[in-house]
Symmetry: C2
Subunit: 283 residues, 2 copies
């Protein structure tokens, strides 16, 4: 299967990397970039991520697959307009990190079944078309949500593409997705942002951090470079789940604090040994 | 300079990697392992990390440089016995992640000047001789503390070795070291342990974590695999500094919590943009 024309809305880190993956796996002939940011379009053309740039209307007319890779608040805003432009032959998929808000917005749309809610779980702390990388999604999970609300041919096309670019598929409903995403992705970003702010607040001597920061610090604080325009809408849409996990995380940190304050090093040892059990899951 | 005999107390991750670095850089002819754990000695011999194994007494007699790479509570316990065995020709150095407790214990020792307090800032979440790797310390910082309390020849020898194995040297007093280490290393471990416990507590469906955990989660939780026997004594010795940073970190997390609870997404954006400033420091 090779698709003549694919439109990618948002040619940043994810859109750009997806474009590369389509080309590298001979899945698309012509990639049309749509982006409100002219500089992104210019850069994406220059880097060869996209073949041409069109307006949303013209891109929809020309393509059969439309892939959304913009912040989740923008996706929810643009999707209704987009769904008004498509025919029952189009397939629309998105790559957003939250799925429930999107699925709710489309709930009663007459063409809902042409939309496939997906979350290819890959990303880096960088953003923009310059951040796009080749081979990006390989070996990672892609979640497909509420499969039964999409037409089988649309789901099959997206399954084919994601498998071809090296992803394994996981199925769940949008609500379960947002809950799990809070645990395995969103909370990591909050702890990393907060850790960066802690160190920047307390450690006035930048030179000392720079000189001493070891691999451990770098890996826990790496995500703190992530883009606010992408993450604020994610936290907003997934507020309840994120708050729930964040409350638990603060409680866990308070256990460490209490051990130190009370010189309870036996319990501290237990807490660390409990944490070590993550080895079962993360090799 | 090539040292005939070096004794390494503790042939685990750090001791084993240091042994490899000495050999690879032609800094030592014969490496003597000392370890209370027979299995570690066996493994270290089998892996070729050490050439022979001796008792502490015999190892001191035979060697001119003694390098301590055991948990920081064990170091503080063993150091007085060790200092009673050495002559004014020996050099003793340690690799511990805390420095103040060690320096205080030796404060009034007649041979204090033969001891060099060092912290080569490298490590992984793994432990034991099997975890030792070649080229481990390259490009990392090594802190030398309270240099003026050691004999110049002893300091020069350690400087020569650390530079030769690829480290750059940073000088500060033991108190400043422990403070900075709390910011750039110890707090990262606490957040990672607590994050692992958060997720293990909340996410009962192990399969979901396993399937979905992306690079971001893995990097923030990687340190949670670290060894309790190594980390409890570090947190114990550096309690005041760690508590100070931990309190600040909990406060920073509460800011995120409050933004979400109050739907204050403008301030959330600000917090994330503040965190992004870590890019200045961590490339």
């Amino acid at each position: 299967m090779i698709i003549e024309n694919v439109a990618i809305i948002g040619v940043g880190l994810i859109g750009g990397s997806f474009a590369l993956a389509l080309k590298e796996n001979y899945l698309a002939k012509n990639i049309i970039g749509v982006d409100t940011n002219d500089k992104n379009i210019e850069k994406a053309l220059e880097l060869g991520l996209i073949n041409e740039s069109l307006s949303l209307e013209d891109a929809v007319k020309k393509s059969s697959l439309i892939f959304l890779a913009i912040p989740v608040d923008a996706t929810v805003t643009i999707i209704k307009k987009l769904m008004g432009l498509i025919t029952p032959e189009h397939i629309v998929a998105d790559a957003g990190s939250t799925k429930l808000a999107m699925c709710k917005v489309l709930e009663d749309h007459p063409l809902r079944k042409r939309f496939v809610a997906t979350h290819p779980m890959w990303g880096t702390e960088h953003s923009g078309p310059e951040a796009a990388v080749s081979g990006a999604f390989k070996g990672k999970a892609c979640v497909i949500c509420d499969k039964e609300n999409s037409d089988p041919d649309a789901v099959e096309t997206m399954e084919f593409i994601y498998k071809k670019i090296g992803m394994h598929l996981v199925y769940m409903n949008a609500q379960a997705h947002d809950l799990h995403a809070a645990y395995v992705s969103h909370i990591s970003h909050i702890t990393s942002f907060a850790l960066a702010n802690t160190v920047l607040e307390k450690e006035r001597e930048d030179d000392a951090i720079f000189e001493l920061a070891s691999g451990g610090f770098e890996s826990t604080v790496r995500l703190a470079k992530s883009n606010a325009a992408m993450w604020v809408p994610i936290f907003k849409q997934n507020k309840e789940n994120v708050l729930d996990v964040l409350n638990e995380h603060i409680m866990q940190l308070k256990k460490f604090k209490s051990c130190l304050e009370k010189d309870n090093f036996e319990y501290l040892q237990e807490l660390i040994e409990d944490a070590n059990k993550i080895q079962r899951i993360i090799k």
